[in-house]
Amino acid sequence: MAETVADPFFKGNTGRNTRGILRLSILVLIAAAAIASRLFSVIRFESIIHEFDPWFNFRATKYLVSNGFYDFWDWFDDRTWHPLGRVTGGTLYPGLMVTSGAIYHALRALTIPVDIRNICVLLAPGFSGLTAFATYLFTNEMSTSPSAGLLAAAFMGIAPGYISRSVAGSYDNEAIAIFLLVFTFYLWIKAVKLGSAMWGALCALFYGYMVSAWGGYVFITNLIPLHVFVLVCMGRFSPRLYVSYCTWYALGTLASMQIPFVGFLPIRSSEHMSALGVFGLLQLVGFVEFVRSGVPSKQFGTLLRGFVLLVFGISFGGLVLLTVSGVIAPWTGRFYSLWDTGYAKIHIPIIASVSEHQPTAWPAYFFDLNLLIWLFPAGVYLCFQKLADEQVFVVVYSILASYFSGVMVRLMLTLTPIVCVAAALAVSSLLDTYLLLKSPEYPGDSATEAGSNGTPAPSKKAAKQDGLRSMRQPLVGIYTTFSKMSVVSALTSYLLIFVLHCTWVTSNAYSSPSVVLASRMPDGSQHIIDDYREAYQWLRQNTAEDAKIMSWWDYGYQIGGMADRPTLVDNNTWNNTHIATVGKAMSSREEVSYPIMRQHEVDYVLVVFGGLLGYSGDDINKFLWMVRIAEGIWPDEVKERDFFTDRGEYRVDEGATETMKNSLMYKMSYYNYCTLFPPGQCQDRVRGVKLPDVGPTLNTVEEAFTSENWIIRIFKVKDLDNAGRDLASAASFERGNKKKKTIKKRGPKVLRVE
């Protein structure tokens, strides 16, 4: 082989340095690609906060930045959940806001004045770069192959399953939580490998950060104990495990309890009991190991059996007793719904009504992970080949995350990192095998001859044991350049297609802010439908600063964030009864709704109506959830059955049931709608039905605003009638109907007593 000019760079000490620089620049490029692929929405629309929850996070961050940390900690928000208010500082995960606040102040200190909105918008892409790096570190702990880590980082950087929650503007807890999740796992693996209290403490530290950032920390809380439990069951208890787990558990639990929202949950709720239990188990196992070194093995066996049974009995009994007596909170509904996907629909409609809580459809796996999903099992299989402690972790993680991702769409997010890691392991082992162009030299003619002669040779011995014909060859493997080339090129093209797929998915599915809708004009140019912001701006400019807006809870955060008006309910669904109250007001007759609205001091009612534009995510389509949630609290007053026709259809046209036609939501949605159409052609384009020509009449509310495409309609709640009439007769008088003189009733006159 000829000496090339580049040779000195790839050999010896210099070679290591070059590889280091290459590695670094590749990682930086991966991070850059991860960030860049998340910027579609900023380029297409603008630097805007997306969807629903991010609006609250954004609002909270603004509060934090302008009022300081302690005010934020003690924040009582009187502009949500009117009139209950929300102890916001104590009921949120502050990690996200504090992170952006810290970045904001750091940049200020460096005299770089950046708008807090831009920090919030770009936080998620920024952290996705870090996630790629964390994945690199994590994978490097799993594999000796130098390419596995880089591949995993690249996969993590562009996998749509993660991008779905981290595009620019998607300012949600998951934005930083996935980085923390992967990094915590990396530190955990490091701690287990080294048995070091320092790495355990670092792991606990990042676990604490994770707890402050996302409710999904429970996943870590259960996965690490499960890992330890599996290791103990495999008989792999070691002082390393003991030290790392005890350090992590003690410090991590203390750290998590510092978050007000978590508080005493780590020692009181069932979800955290496994961590506590494994902590206890490790003490026992450690004690048993200690005893074993001092007691003869025969007696030890009996002793152990009795001891284990006793301890198990006592602890299990204690757990049941504490749960029954209420000291330990029983499993929550959200938890049950993880085991039984039908549970939520029956018992807690509020959870089931959220689309991201639905079970995952099978195509979603391919959509979100593409080729990674079929490389995933291969990677997990490879872990079995060299089953060290850390490989066990990958296996446990894969099994657990696979199950949960099937139960709930949003948990696809926790599956994505391990899929990327496992797929990277598989791809790297393939590439490592096939990219090596050199074929091994044949050991020599004599050996070959000896083999053919049937004289025993060392290789032959091995081959015989295997018993496979192909293995009888002296050198096993694929050594032709053609087969290598074909495999490598196929793999390369798969990877390229994967990149294409990721870009396509990100661009088409995950980059819409959902605040602004985009559609195509007939000539292919983009048309922006901006009804939401139009309506919120109207509210901001035309209503009193403390005008209370009633809407379905989906829009609560947006109204709070964009219109800056108090709302009755919002996406923080902590009070089911309050939400049911709104549901009842929406689904009842006006005479029933009006006192509810008066009592809650509602000034405006906001409904989303997609009938004109064919926007399917409107309130009439969500209406049954309102009915169901209201029915959960007032089963006698609101009945889902009444909204279906006799034949069980959910209709909005002439065939709609009386209850449906009289419900406030129906009336507000279709009020005056038919005046848009020539007689007889009134049509609802979402549900594709023709509507009756005579629309509903409204007595207790009056139309205040309807946006350009009729997506948002705002109604003002009327005050009580000045002359003491009920609003129906007052409205009828306004329309010019004369009150009929009371016809003399038969029977005794009703006399005025006062």
Binding site: D74, D78, L84, N722, R725, K739, L751
Partner: protein, 470 residues
């Protein structure tokens, strides 16, 4: 904002030389101006009290209650027209809009002419019912004036009215002895449901209303009888605009201001021989004065609430309190009496109450009088905020018959304890065992480390079996 408005109002009031608490522009709707002289005494009284009177015929084009969308007059007096209608400017809707805009209306009826249908339907909207066929006559065979209506018994003599309830102020009591003549009037019945209606003058027990056009002997089915028949009715809308129906416009005529009446023999059979002067002039003044906001008008002055926890200078009207704070509340109330504001005193047996409410009241407290100024009384109470955070209202909802409505709502936020407002752990005796536990653990750990560092390691020896022992 509100105080600027009240200053403006006060300034305006000073300019218009106190006639009524709400302006002095009065439109008198009268069909024929010639008839003015019939009411000259009554109208003269009004002018003397400072009202600026404008006369218009209901049919005239110039009669417009609204000008450029604003109320053109403060008060409206409708004297009964002879014609059937009131014209396009005085439809029930416009009249109701006038009330909604805060204008007061004094409406007079007469049994001599059928009531215009516009007025009937207006009254119907307000739940005041007139006899069918738009005519009706109140007669009383036991309380009629023997001088003027010996035959027809249609001049009913009514004593001054009592208070509606014992805890309601009575503005129409007079000196209690004189009688009011109610000649040829139309009685009304009031609906049961409306809390805004108050009968000012009710017919005597023996009175009834019938249709004089029906030529029958005896009345089978009278429209209403006795106390159910209201002769003068007041309606105060939610915005405190007042609307009064006087059943007999003749009451206000000069003739009946001066007339002497002699009551017939009552139920007891004892007829008085003495002819007495009617109290119509005084009564008309009171009813008109009430309708046109000269009496019974309440005004809220300053509202203050602040912490009551021993601060020397508490912040006045803070936006936010904490649960379990002690707070103090003040409200200043004045009542208008003909031409000046006087300190308001609720009727005997009544009181002003404060509600501290979120969805429903958490406290409902009677306010006590704390001090009196020349024009107002200041009411106060102090209480502890409940242990419930949320958005609360300090609410004074004082609605009494014949007094203008007070509904004052001051919204405050009640927050939870901040992280540094809880008692410290060492102040809680129950926490001492735990703190002792922490101290013992810390001490034990330090001791263990010290012992560990101090003790000298023992070199390990090898036994025969190869095991290391200490």
């Amino acid at each position: 904002m509100r105080w600027i408005l009240s200053f403006l109002l006060l300034g305006l009031l000073a300019v218009v030389q106190a006639a009524s608490a709400s302006g002095n522009k009065l439109l008198v709707v009268i069909e024929e101006l010639a008839e003015k002289s019939k009411y000259s005494k009554y109208l003269g009284d009004l002018e003397a009290r400072g009202f600026k009177l404008t006369y218009e015929s209901p049919k005239s084009d110039k009669v417009a209650l609204f000008e450029l969308g604003e109320r053109a007059y403060d008060h409206l007096l409708i004297l009964p027209p002879k014609s059937k209608g009131l014209g396009p400017q005085l439809t029930p809707k416009i009249l109701l809009d006038f009330i909604n805009a805060g204008g007061n209306i004094l409406l007079t009826l007469s049994s001599s002419h059928p009531t215009p249908s516009a007025l009937v339907s207006l009254l119907l909207e307000l739940d005041i019912h007139l006899p069918s066929d738009r005519t009706g006559l109140v007669v009383d065979h036991f309380n009629y004036d023997t001088i003027s209506a010996a035959e027809k018994h249609d001049v009913v003599l009514v004593p001054r009215p009592d208070a509606l309830r014992s805890d309601v102020k009575n503005f129409f009591a007079g000196d209690g002895k004189d009688v009011i003549a109610f000649p040829k009037g139309v009685g009304q019945t009031l609906g049961n449901t409306s809390p805004l209606l108050t009968p000012i003058l009710r017919a005597p027990r023996t009175a009834y209303s019938y249709n004089p056009k029906e030529e029958v002997e005896g009345v089978d089915d009278p429209f209403a009888v006795g106390q159910q028949l209201s002769l003068v009715t007041a309606m105060q809308a939610r915005n405190s605009a007042r609307f009064t129906v006087i059943g007999a416009s003749e009451m206000l005529e000069n003739a009946w201001f001066d007339a002497k009446v002699k009551p017939s023999a009552g139920l007891t059979g004892a007829a008085s021989d003495k002819a007495a002067k009617t109290a119509n002039q005084a009564f008309a003044k009171e009813v008109t004065g009430w309708t046109f906001n000269e009496i019974g008008v309440l005004k809220v002055g300053k509202i203050e609430h602040h912490l009551d926890e021993g601060e020397t200078e508490p912040v006045i009207n803070p936006k936010i309190y904490r649960v379990k704070n002690d707070v103090k509340y003040f409200i200043e109330l004045s009542e208008y009496q003909w031409d000046k504001w006087v300190p308001f005193q609720p009727a005997e047996g009544d009181n002003v109450q404060l509600e501290f409410s979120m969805l429903s009241p958490f406290h409902r407290l009677p306010l006590t009088l704390s001090s009196t100024t020349p024009t107002s009384t200041i009411w106060t109470t102090s209480f502890k905020i409940p242990d419930q955070h949320g958005i609360f209202n300090f609410k004074v909802n004082h609605k009494r018959p014949l007094l203008s409505n007070i509904e004052e709502k001051n919204t405050v936020t009640v927050r939870h304890f901040a992280h540094d407002e809880w008692p410290r752990s060492w102040a809680i005796t129950g926490a001492w065992p735990w703190m002792a536990g922490i101290a013992v653990t810390v001490a034990g750990w330090v001791g263990f480390v010290a012992l560990w560092l101090w003790s000298k390691p023992v070199p390990l020896k090898l036994t025969n079996s190869g095991k290391k022992v200490v």
